[in-house]
């Protein structure tokens, strides 16, 4: 029988948007927060928002946000009862989770052994097969490009295929291959990225499902064996295998398929002995309406907010309750999603090339108004350093149905959001939600590639607010420098 242990102070082992998101709920729950920061993050938003903050190390992640001993040491020193890892960094690191528990701290997340199990994509897949969850044809424990060639011949697999890091996620260490010529470099790239991102270069390879849709189910379990799902999310719109727009409920599936997918996820979670929040990801083949297990994300997801908006729940708050040993306060039949919600990820990237764009945010206006929820990791004047993830803000919208949620999102992106000093993908996101095929629900993970030119050409013209700042820049220059020779 789990013991109820109180969390009055938590260290948040993260930065930016996830740290800020968790701190908001901590404030609601009157849990004190301790932020950690690397040298370039000294003046970052999450540092200001926390009750206390500790300098953790230099810029490179393994010196700072991945420095496990130091983080645990800080938590103990600051008399925290728990560590919340957010998403990314150490969130799915089983070793860290174990170290946290061994240090006598509460790990706000799923059991370390489940993290370990699901972190190994090969074992995860086998386990899924055992639980009667459909999986994509593939080969585990790939040692060389030769293995892939052999597998493809034996199983009569045709390109494209996808090489993935066995312990990966978030698109890192994931490379699509379309021909034998590309195979060697792709293999090396995946291996090296896997090593760098996850410290483990074990690879696996899978058949790539064309025009596949990415659908995932939010699950929630307590330490008493109760598991519920909070319905699904559609995360099909991706660029470079990273999600940039998510919504719930999925416009791709009907009610029967929804029930089937959600209960499949719950079945797997029960099989795993899962507790805390987690996500079971599936790939839906739109032609056959068959879905395949992809992986389990043993953490809070970036896109958890859309689920919160349609169910009215606070998943982070529930994670804390579960970690403290409380029972889930509801049953499956108590959960009624009655909204449609969309989230976009505002990444600091060039919207055309997706090249990262870092620097100082010289102007920031955050969308407001009915139906909008924002989680920002930055403020006007903040620096976006080049060392970390490019996500600077999440914008969510909600409405009675998909059309209404889209209208609200259009307002947020076209009238509300202003970011200057760095580039963001906001223009691309606006183009996407205005695209007739997206509105009609006809899209796949290749949507951006397929409609790239149309999306780019719809980037919006200037607004008077932008214009007046250009005029002011001119005045500033002439006031400082005097009449110019070109005049």
């Amino acid at each position: 029988m789990p013991v109820v242990r109180d969390i009055r102070k938590v260290l948040i082992a993260n930065r930016g948007v996830p740290a800020v998101r968790i701190m908001h709920t901590c404030r609601d729950k009157k849990i004190k927060t301790v932020a950690i920061y690397s040298t370039p993050d000294r003046l970052a938003y999450h540092v200001f928002l926390a009750d206390e903050a500790v300098h953790i190390g230099e810029a490179p992640p393994h010196d700072s946000y991945l420095n496990m001993e130091k983080i645990i040491h800080c938590a103990l020193e600051k008399k925290c009862q728990a560590i919340h890892p957010g998403w990314g960094f150490l969130a799915e690191n089983a070793t860290f989770a174990e170290m946290v528990e061994e240090a006598g701290l509460i790990w706000v997340g799923p059991p370390p052994q489940v993290i370990r199990l699901m972190g190994d994509k090969i074992k995860a897949k086998k386990l899924a097969q055992k639980a009667n969850v459909p999986t994509i044809p593939g080969l585990t424990n790939v040692q060389s490009p030769e293995d892939i060639r052999k597998w493809m011949t034996e199983e009569e697999i045709i390109f494209p295929i996808l090489i993935k890091a066995a312990s990966g996620g978030g698109g890192k260490g994931m490379v699509r291959v379309d021909s034998f010529e590309e195979l060697n470099i792709a293999f090396e790239k995946a291996k090296s990225e896997a090593k760098k991102a996850f410290g483990d270069d074990t690879l696996l390879v899978e058949k790539y499902i064309e025009k596949g849709r990415h659908i995932e189910v939010q699950i929630l379990g307590d330490k008493f064996g109760n598991v519920v799902h909070l319905y699904e999310r559609e995360c099909t719109i991706q660029r470079r295998n990273q999600k940039i727009l998510e919504e719930a409920p999925s416009p791709s599936i009907d009610e029967n398929l929804r029930q089937e997918i959600c209960y499949t996820a719950v079945r797997l979670a029960r099989e795993l002995g899962y507790y805390s929040a987690g996500t079971v990801e599936f790939l839906l083949d739109p032609r056959t309406k068959r879905f395949y297990f992809l992986e389990v994300n043993t953490r809070l997801q970036v896109e958890h907010g859309v689920t919160e908006l349609i169910t009215g729940l606070d998943i982070v708050s529930l994670m804390f309750d579960i970690a403290q040993g409380k029972k889930l306060p509801f049953k499956q039949e108590d959960i009624y999603p009655n909204r449609h919600s969309i989230e976009v990820r505002i990444n600091a990237e060039d919207p055309r090339s997706f090249n990262p764009s870092f620097g100082t945010i010289t102007r920031l206006e955050i969308p407001q108004g009915p139906g909008i929820r924002v989680a920002s990791g930055v403020y006007e004047g903040a620096d976006v350093p080049p060392y970390y993830d490019s996500l600077i803000m999440l914008i969510m919208s909600a409405g009675a149905d998909r059309a209404e949620a889209l209208r609200v999102m259009d307002r947020a992106l076209s009238r509300g959001l202003k970011v200057e000093g760095i580039k963001t993908i906001a223009p691309l996101l606006l183009s996407i939600i205005r695209h007739p095929e997206f509105i009609a629900g006809n899209f796949s993970t290749r949507f951006i590639e397929e409609h790239y030119q149309e999306l780019i050409s719809a980037f919006r013209e200037k607004t008077p607010e932008d214009e007046v700042l250009k005029v002011a820049q001119y005045i500033a220059e002439i006031s400082a420098l005097g009449p110019q020779s070109w005049m």
């Binding site: 890192k172 010529e181 470099i185 090396e188 790239k189 090296s192 990225e193 760098k196 991102a197 470079r240 990237e349 090339s353 090249n355 990262p356 764009s357 102007r363 080049p386 970390y388 993830d389 490019s390 050409s457 200037k462 008077p464 932008d466 214009e467 007046v468 700042l469 250009k470 005029v471 002011a472 820049q473 001119y474 005045i475 500033a476 220059e477 002439i478 006031s479 400082a480 420098l481 005097g482 009449p483 070109w486 005049m487």
Partner: protein, 674 residues
């Protein structure tokens, strides 16, 4: 009563009829174009000029010249205004007024002949009612295409004869030009003829005689007399022109008048009234416009010509009013303002040797050629050299009546070098690239002087056809692509036209406006030129109907080439960073050639070479498809592969260096194929 008698949308025939029916004369206002060109280097901004528009709308002008000449080019280069924006603004503010341009036949609003398809494309797309078109050679053939397109569009074509006073340009000569014009335009029913006295040299007698002669031959032809005031005698000549039968006279606001522009509107109206010639003018509105100018004209003192005062010697050197300020500007920038009197003297002799009209682009050719000659002699021999060349030319032109053989051997040699360094445009001119010279080609010695030994072949190359026939069409789609490559996006139709006229300056203009937005259109001239001086200095304007305000808080001191300026923009305090010319510019080498490998994205170059063979150094051989470096950016790896078998010539960055997109990483030398 309303003084409006012609409005945009009327057919040319209707307009011509309305002018004929006027009891007396009407005015053309040059306040929005030539006035500014002649005395203020074309710097008068639409921000100020548009304040006159409401008065113009009621005044009863025949037309307002607000476009063309050098205003287009100076607009994009110096004022950073587009001629299309100006037209749009004026159309809105003075819908009653015919808008007039000045176009230089095949040279349009530039300085060189354009190909036919460019002329056609542009003239079809510029929304102007009255197209005053002149040829600096009076080569009427060059006007054909502009005339055709304008008349086909149903707009009014106003051919101009370039006018000056010289023994070889007599009334008979001008009548021949008028004959050609009338033939080109199919009669006198749909055109107005302009006599373009661009230097301001016509006398009461010469102008009366010319207009009289034209009216006798073409009694129904409407004549517009355009006369600069440089010699100080303009008003009596305008009165004489009106008496001789000119129906339209060019004027400008009295308060705009300096020394090289046009006559004052109120004064001309008064004297014509006294002479009993009715003027279609709402004098009250004119008085208000004249008064309005006072509110802003002092903001342009910096743009005025450094030589002030009338210049009756213009009757000799013939520099046109519109060219004065730009010539002074160039002389000032070139540091030879003190040589101006000598240059003007050389011009007065030169224009008797090579005979054409000193008006764009002829005036530029004259100016560059003559200032070049004077500068060359000054550099070599000082003041004495300048005197020497003037004496030589005087002796040749005045004493020897241009009889080359009568000159001493040494003088001949000097003359044979005179045009050797003349600009290419001078050489093109005497080779016929602009069209036929009005009274024949120069003497052979001029060719010898310009081309040296090759002179006879060059004379054989000389063409007699119109400039229209000499220039091959341009590939417009290729041009558009080039522009779009330069600006990195699709170009608007207007941007494309600006580019066709002045490619380099148009790109600068477009980039300026992308950076500074509508600053040229919304800022008062003082702020435009000097910015803010004191905390609390403020501008207020509207954009898309919403109010905006920008106010100075403070200007910081320079530190490491950066000045911080604090402004309140709609009450919100913002800091703007201004780089001074001293700012350190870290030049980043960029990959531009196929043999140069640039960074595909910004990031850290964390590996040179690949894990298999380790790092690379110059001299190493790499193979096509081999990874030669890897860039990490926001946790993603980006392999850079050799595009072909090659030897590494140079590695341009260090390991773990941050690089930006396009930055040069490797220089490769392709391996020779066996």
């Amino acid at each position: 009563m309303s003084y409006i008698f012609v409005t945009p949308g009327m057919t040319p025939k209707e307009i011509v009829r309305k002018v004929r029916e006027l009891p007396g004369v009407a005015f053309v206002s040059l306040g929005m174009r030539d006035a500014g060109q002649s005395d203020y280097k074309n710097r008068l901004r639409i921000y100020d000029l548009k304040t006159l528009a409401p008065y113009y709308n009621e005044m009863g002008f025949f037309a307002a010249e607000c476009h063309g000449g050098a205003r287009w080019h100076v607009g994009i280069m110096n004022r950073r205004e587009s001629p299309f924006e100006e037209i749009a603004l004026l159309r809105e503010l003075m819908p009653n007024v015919l808008l007039q341009t000045l176009i230089r036949e095949t040279n349009m609003w530039g300085y060189r002949p354009y190909p036919k398809n460019v002329i056609e494309y542009v003239v079809e797309r510029v929304d102007i009612d009255v197209w005053r078109c002149f040829s600096f050679l009076n080569d009427v053939r060059n006007m054909r295409l502009v005339a055709e397109v304008v008349m086909k569009r149903g707009r009014l074509f106003e051919p101009a004869i370039s006018y000056t006073v010289a023994p070889w340009f007599d009334t008979k000569y001008y009548l021949k030009v008028v004959d050609e014009i009338v033939a080109l335009c199919g009669g006198v029913e749909e055109i107005i003829l302009c006599i373009k006295d661009m230097a301001g040299v016509g006398t009461v007698q010469s102008v009366s005689e010319l207009i009289d002669a034209i009216k006798q031959k073409y009694p129904d032809l409407i004549i517009n007399y355009h006369r600069h005031i440089t010699d100080g005698l303009a008003i009596p000549v305008l009165v004489a022109a009106a008496k001789a039968g000119a129906k339209l006279l060019d004027v400008q606001e009295d308060t705009l008048c300096r020394f090289y522009g046009h006559s004052p509107i109120l004064a001309v109206e008064a004297i014509l009234r006294e002479e009993g010639i009715p003027v279609n003018l709402n004098r009250k509105a004119a008085e208000l416009a004249v008064e309005k100018v006072r509110e802003w004209i002092r903001d342009y003192e910096w743009a005025e010509s450094p030589f002030k005062g009338f210049d009756h010697m213009v009757t000799k050197h013939k520099m046109p009013g519109g060219a004065f300020p730009s010539s002074f500007e160039q002389a000032e920038k070139g540091g030879f303002l003190h040589l101006m009197p000598a240059i003007l003297q050389v011009m007065s002799l030169y224009n008797q040797i090579v005979k054409y009209f000193d008006v764009t682009p002829g005036s530029q050719i004259t100016w560059v050629t003559c200032s070049g000659i004077v500068n060359k002699y000054y550099k070599e021999f000082g003041e004495a050299g300048v005197q020497k060349v003037i004496n030589l030319l005087k002796r040749f032109v005045e004493e020897k009546k241009q009889d080359f053989s009568a000159m001493e051997e040494e003088e001949k040699q000097e003359l044979l070098q005179l045009f050797r360094q003349a600009p290419g445009d001078f050489k093109n001119l005497i080779l016929g690239h602009y069209g036929k010279l009005p009274v024949g080609w120069p003497e052979d010695w001029v060719y010898q002087s310009a081309f040296g030994e090759a002179w006879q072949e060059k004379i054989k190359e000389r063409v007699e056809t119109s400039a229209l026939e000499n220039i091959p069409d341009e590939d417009l789609e290729a041009q558009r692509k080039q522009l779009e490559n330069e600006i990195g996006r699709a170009a608007t139709e207007e941007e494309f036209i600006l580019y066709l006229m002045h490619p380099k300056d148009a790109i600068d203009f477009i980039k300026f406006r992308e950076k500074y937005g509508v600053a040229p259109l919304v800022l008062p001239t003082k702020v435009w030129r000097y910015g803010f001086a004191h905390p609390g200095d403020k501008v207020e304007f509207e954009l898309e109907g919403k109010p905006y305000s920008i106010e100075l808080v403070s200007v910081g001191n320079e530190s490491n080439g950066v000045i911080h300026v604090v402004l309140k923009v709609n009450n919100k305090t913002r800091v703007f960073e201004v780089l001074t010319p001293r700012a350190k510019k870290t030049e980043v080498r960029r990959a531009t050639k196929p043999t140069e490998i640039g960074a595909p994205i910004s990031g850290t170059l964390w590996r040179i070479g690949n894990p298999k063979r380790g790092t690379l150094k110059p001299g190493d051989i790499v193979h096509k498809g081999e990874e030669i470096a890897n860039l990490e950016s926001m946790k993603m790896e980006n392999p850079i592969v050799a595009p072909f078998d090659a030897q590494i010539v140079e590695i341009c960055v260090k390991l773990n260096q941050m690089v930006e997109e396009g930055q040069l990483l490797f220089v490769l030398k392709p391996l020779e194929e066996n």
